[in-house]
Amino acid sequence: MEKASFPHRHILGMAELGRAEIELILETAASMKEILSRPIKKVPTLRGKTIVHLFFEPSTRTRISFEMAAKRLSADTVSVTASASSVVKGETLIDTAKNLEAMAPDIIVLRHPFSGAAHLLTRHVRASVINAGDGTHEHPTQALLDLLTIREEKGNIKGLKVAIVGDITHSRVAHSNILALSKLGAEVWVSGPATMIPPGIERLGARVTYKIEEALAGADVIMALRIQKERQGRDLIPSLREYARVFGLTPERVSLAAKDCIIMHPGPMNRGVEISPEVADGPYSVILDQVTNGVAVRMAILYLLLGGSREAVA
C-alpha cells in the first residue's frame, strides 16, 4: 500500500501550499474524476470517517459540492449551518467547534464571513480543517478546481496568460487563484474598476492594468468575478449599467483574447453585468466543467488529508 505523502494537516489557503503539493492534489483529483465517470460513483475509501460541514455563511453550491465529495468516498457527514450575525464576541465559532469535538470529527470544512476564521479554528480542534472560504482571504478549493479545469482544457498552466476581471479586492477566489496560478507559472493579469483593485496585489503575483482590453489581449483564460455594487455600505462604482458597459465580458471584448480561450466564473453569475449571456453560455464557457471538477478536487483533498491509500481508489 503506497501512502500518499501530503505534508499538511489543514488546507487553509493557496499561500501555504507549495507547487509540488498543488500538483499532487491535481493528479489525485484527476483519478477521482475517473470514479465520477463510473456507473456506481462510490468507493469505500473513507468509510468510518466523519466530516463536518460548518457553514457560517450560506453557500449551497460549495456545501453540496463538499458533501457530494464526502459521500462518494463513503464518509459520514454532518452539516451545521450557523448564523454569524448572531455571533457575540466570536464565541459561536469556538463554542461550536468545541461541541463538535465531542463527535470526534476527522475533518471540519469551514465557511465563514471573517478572514482567518479557519486559522482560528485550527487552534481549537484536533480535526483537520479545510477552508471553504473565509472573508475576503482565500477559497483554496475553488482555486484548485479552477486549476484542474484549466489544465484539462490547456494541458499545462505554465506560460498561460490568465485575465481575472472584476472585484479583485473582495474576491477570495481571485486571491487564491492569483497565488496558485502564479506559483504554477501562469502570467496573471487583473483588471477592473480601480476601486476594486486592492493595494499590493502585485506582491501576490498579479499584474495590474486599468485597461481591461490590455488584460484580455491574447488571454488564454478569462475569469469573470461576481460584482456587487455596494460593499460595506458604500458604492464602489457608480452603477451596474456603467460596469457592464466598461468592464463587462461581451463577445467583442472576448474576441481580443486568444482564439481558443476559455471563460470561467466561480458563480453565481450576474448575467448581463460582469458577463453577457452570449459569453456565459457560449462555446468558450467552461463554467459547468468547473462545477464537476469541484467535486473531484474536494474528493482528492479529503482523501489526501486523511492519508488514504492509493489502492483504495483503484
Partner: protein
C-alpha cells in the same frame, strides 16, 4: 522615611545631568544629590552601583478600564503594572464606562487612585459629552475635578468646527487637547495597515492617509487657534513629516509614539495574531525607521504606551471581531532601552521622552531630579535579562504581542513620593 540611593548613574534631562553619585530622599522629597553623601544613622541605603537613576517615568496615555470594565484592568492592577514597569505616574484616557466626561467620573478616578493606586493617576477627560463628538464637556468643571488634559481618544472628533471650538475653549483653562488622529471615513472597517499584507490576509486595510489627513487637520486648527495640540500614538512616516514641518513653522504641536510602533511592523499580524491588532495599526519597516528617527531628532516628544488591556474574550476570536489594543506598561522600558543600546538615543534623551517631556506637556510634577522636587524616581538595571510571560505580568490582561520575547533591562525600584511602590 529617609533613603540614600548610593553610587548610581543619575540622569536629569532638565539640566542635562549625567553623573555618578548619591541621591538623598527625605520626607518624600529629593533632599540632595552629590558625588558622595555620607550615610548617617537611620538612613536606609540602597546600593545603586551599575544602576541608572531616572526621574520617575510618566506615561501620558494609558487605559485603566475603571470604571466599567474591571475584568480587564482596574486602577489598582493597572498602577501595579505601571510601577513594575518603572512608571511613577500615568494619565488615564476617558473611554471608560461611563466615559470620563463629567466631574463626578473624574473625581471617582482620583479618589480610587488615592485609595488603591500604586502610582500617581491623572485623569484625561473627554472633549465631548459621551465622546460622541456633538457637544463640548464642561472644561472648567473637569479641570477643577482634576483633569489634566482633554481627549476623545478612540473616538476622534469628526466635526472640524467642534474641534476648533475645543481648541479655542481649552485656552481658558490651560487644558491641552490630545488628538487621536483618525479620519473615520478612510479607516472604516479597517483591521490592519493597508497594503500587500492586508490584501494577502484578506483583511480590510487602514491607509496611512487616515492618520495623516487627521493630523494635518488638527495641526491646521492649532495654528488657527494658537492652542497647543498633542498628537497621540503617531505611527507613520508621513505623520512625522507633517509634524516636523509644523514645528518648524512654529505651530504649538507635540507628539507621542508608542513602543510597538518602533519595535514591530505589520508583519506581527501574520497568522491572524490578534495580540498585534491595535489602532492605529502596526505599519511598515519604512514607518518604523522614520519613527525611530523622529524620536532621535526631537520631532516626536514623548514615548507613551497606549496601554490597552483586553481579556481573552476580546482577543481569542476572529481577527475582524477582536478588540484593538495591547498592554505596554511593563515592556515600554526594555523596548526603549533597545534604542539606547543601539546608540540611537542616549540616556538623557530617553529620560526626556519618558519623563521630562510628558511632565512639561501636561504641566505635571516630576520629570526632573532636583533638591526640593518630589521623590518620584525610577531605578533601572539596564543589564537585567527577563522573559515576557503571562504569569510575570502584573496587568490583569495579558494581551501583549511581546509574550515570549527576551528583554534586557527593567525597573528594579520605583519610588512614588519617596515611598517604595515597587521593588524587584
Amino acid at each position: 522615611m529617609r533613603l540614600l540611593l548610593k553610587g548610581g548613574r543619575i540622569i536629569d534631562p532638565s539640566v542635562a545631568l549625567d553623573m555618578e553619585g548619591d541621591l538623598l530622599i527625605e520626607e518624600g522629597q529629593i533632599r540632595a544629590i552629590d558625588r558622595e553623601i555620607p550615610a548617617d544613622e537611620g538612613l536606609e541605603v540602597i546600593d545603586c552601583r551599575q544602576k541608572v537613576i531616572l526621574p520617575g517615568l510618566i506615561d501620558i496615555h494609558v487605559h485603566l478600564r475603571e470604571p466599567g470594565e474591571e475584568y480587564k484592568e482596574t486602577i489598582e492592577t493597572g498602577t501595579l503594572a505601571a510601577v513594575a514597569g518603572g512608571f511613577t505616574a500615568v494619565c488615564t484616557m476617558p473611554n471608560t464606562k461611563p466615559p470620563n466626561d463629567c466631574a463626578a467620573v473624574t473625581k471617582f478616578i482620583r479618589d480610587r487612585a488615592r485609595e488603591q493606586g500604586h502610582c500617581r493617576v491623572y485623569p484625561v477627560a473627554a472633549i465631548t459629552v459621551g465622546q460622541r463628538g456633538k457637544r463640548l464637556t464642561e472644561f472648567a468643571d473637569l479641570k477643577e475635578a482634576g483633569a489634566v488634559a482633554l481627549s476623545d481618544d478612540g473616538h476622534p472628533v469628526a466635526d472640524a468646527f467642534l474641534m476648533r471650538l475645543a481648541l479655542e475653549y481649552s485656552r481658558n483653562f490651560n487644558l491641552p487637547i490630545i488628538s487621536h488622529a483618525e479620519e473615520l471615513a478612510l479607516s472604516a472597517g479597517g483591521q490592519m495597515n493597508e497594503g500587500a499584507l492586508s490584501t494577502l490576509l484578506g483583511l480590510k486595510g487602514i491607509p496611512k492617509a487616515a492618520e495623516e489627513v487627521a493630523i494635518f487637520r488638527d495641526i491646521s486648527l492649532a495654528a488657527l487657534t494658537g492652542a497647543p495640540i498633542h498628537i497621540a500614538h503617531v505611527s507613520t512616516k508621513g505623520a512625522c513629516e507633517i509634524i516636523r514641518r509644523a514645528k518648524e513653522a512654529g505651530v504649538p504641536v507635540t507628539a507621542e509614539t508608542a513602543p510597538h510602533y518602533f519595535s514591530l511592523t505589520e508583519e506581527a499580524v501574520a497568522g491572524y495574531n490578534t495580540l498585534a491588532k491595535v489602532n492605529p495599526p502596526l505599519r511598515t519597516e519604512e514607518d518604523r525607521e522614520a519613527i525611530i528617527e523622529a524620536l532621535a531628532e526631537g520631532v516626536i516628544d514623548v514615548i507613551a504606551t497606549d496601554h490597552a488591556p483586553h481579556s481573552v474574550l476580546e482577543k481569542e476570536v476572529e481577527f475582524a471581531q477582536a478588540a484593538c489594543g495591547l498592554i505596554g506598561l511593563e515592556t515600554a522600558l526594555p523596548l526603549t532601552l533597545r534604542l539606547v543600546r543601539r546608540g540611537i538615543i542616549n540616556w538623557l534623551r530617553m529620560a526626556e521622552l519618558l519623563s521630562l517631556n510628558p511632565a512639561r506637556i501636561l504641566s505635571l510634577p516630576g520629570g526632573q531630579l532636583r533638591p526640593g522636587s518630589p521623590a518620584d524616581i525610577t531605578v533601572i538595571d539596564p543589564e537585567l535579562s527577563w522573559r515576557v510571560t503571562p504569569e510575570g505580568l502584573k496587568s490583569r490582561s495579558k494581551n501583549s504581542p511581546f509574550l515570549g520575547w527576551e528583554m534586557k533591562g527593567a525597573a528594579i525600584l520605583t519610588l512614588v513620593r519617596g515611598r517604595v511602590a515597587f521593588k524587584r
